[in-house]
């Protein structure tokens, strides 16, 4: 079965530190890739997405992610985190072929705590 792995359960950083959250998926076909974020007390919001084209995608709030097809990876990065980036981050994959009906397959999430 297809799965998504997020390598870190909880990441703690100081403000201004650089961030990289890992995401790998297991599926050999064409996929759409997403990062969602859930700030404390809020709903899941789309941070960025990759459908096709330039594998380096830029999202909101200074986040970016790079799709590396050969590594089945879609890591999330931010050069300098802020206290307001404290949240839980979810990587998700959507299959675009075969019997896929459009549902998302999520990783377990990574909690990011940024110390002021």
């Amino acid at each position: 079965a297809q799965s998504v792995s997020q390598h870190n359960h909880h990441v703690i950083l100081s403000e201004a530190a650089s961030l990289e959250l890992g995401c790998n998926y297991s599926y050999g076909g064409t996929v759409n890739l997403f990062w969602y974020v859930q700030y404390p007390g809020q709903h899941l919001q789309l941070l960025l997405k990759y459908f096709s084209g330039d594998p380096l995608v830029k999202g909101i709030k200074g986040f970016e992610a790079e799709f590396i097809k050969s590594k089945f990876s879609f890591n999330l990065r931010k050069p300098s985190v802020q206290w307001s980036d404290t949240a839980e981050y979810f990587c998700a994959v959507r299959l675009t072929e075969g019997g896929s009906q459009g549902n998302l397959i999520f990783g377990k999430g990574t909690k990011l705590s940024v110390k002021p």
Partner: protein, 117 residues
């Protein structure tokens, strides 16, 4: 434009009781999805409506779960009877077009936290 809304935000029930969760998608969205996150686990797909029809219910855990989408608008997810393992956060998401279900962005509601005691 109003986002996806869910009601209630929290529900605490005892094992064996019935609970009904409601989701109001963004107006005009064909696709409505239910997901669930059990504590410590990943968010998992439950089912997908296209308008009023169930398109894919492969993620529904068992027949204690019943979902409906009245007139292609709001949806309800009923759990009857509830068991301890049903505790978790139930998310609803919607996206605009059936034909573009593999390329649409899904917009999520705030979730309903269900606790079964």
């Amino acid at each position: 434009e109003a986002g996806v809304t869910q009601f209630p935000s929290h529900s605490v029930i005892e094992k064996g009781q019935t609970v009904t969760l409601r989701c109001d998608p963004i107006s005009g969205h064909d696709n409505l999805y239910w997901y669930r996150r059990v504590m410590g686990k990943e968010i998992k797909f439950l089912l997908h409506f296209v308008k009023e029809s169930k398109q894919d219910e492969s993620g529904m855990p068992n027949n204690r779960f019943l979902a409906e989408r009245t007139g292609g608008t709001y949806s309800t997810l009923k759990v009857q009877p509830a068991e301890l393992e049903d505790s978790g956060v139930y998310f609803c998401a919607s996206s605009p077009y059936w034909a573009a279900r593999r390329t649409d962005t899904q917009y999520f509601g705030p979730g309903t936290r269900l606790t079964v005691l």
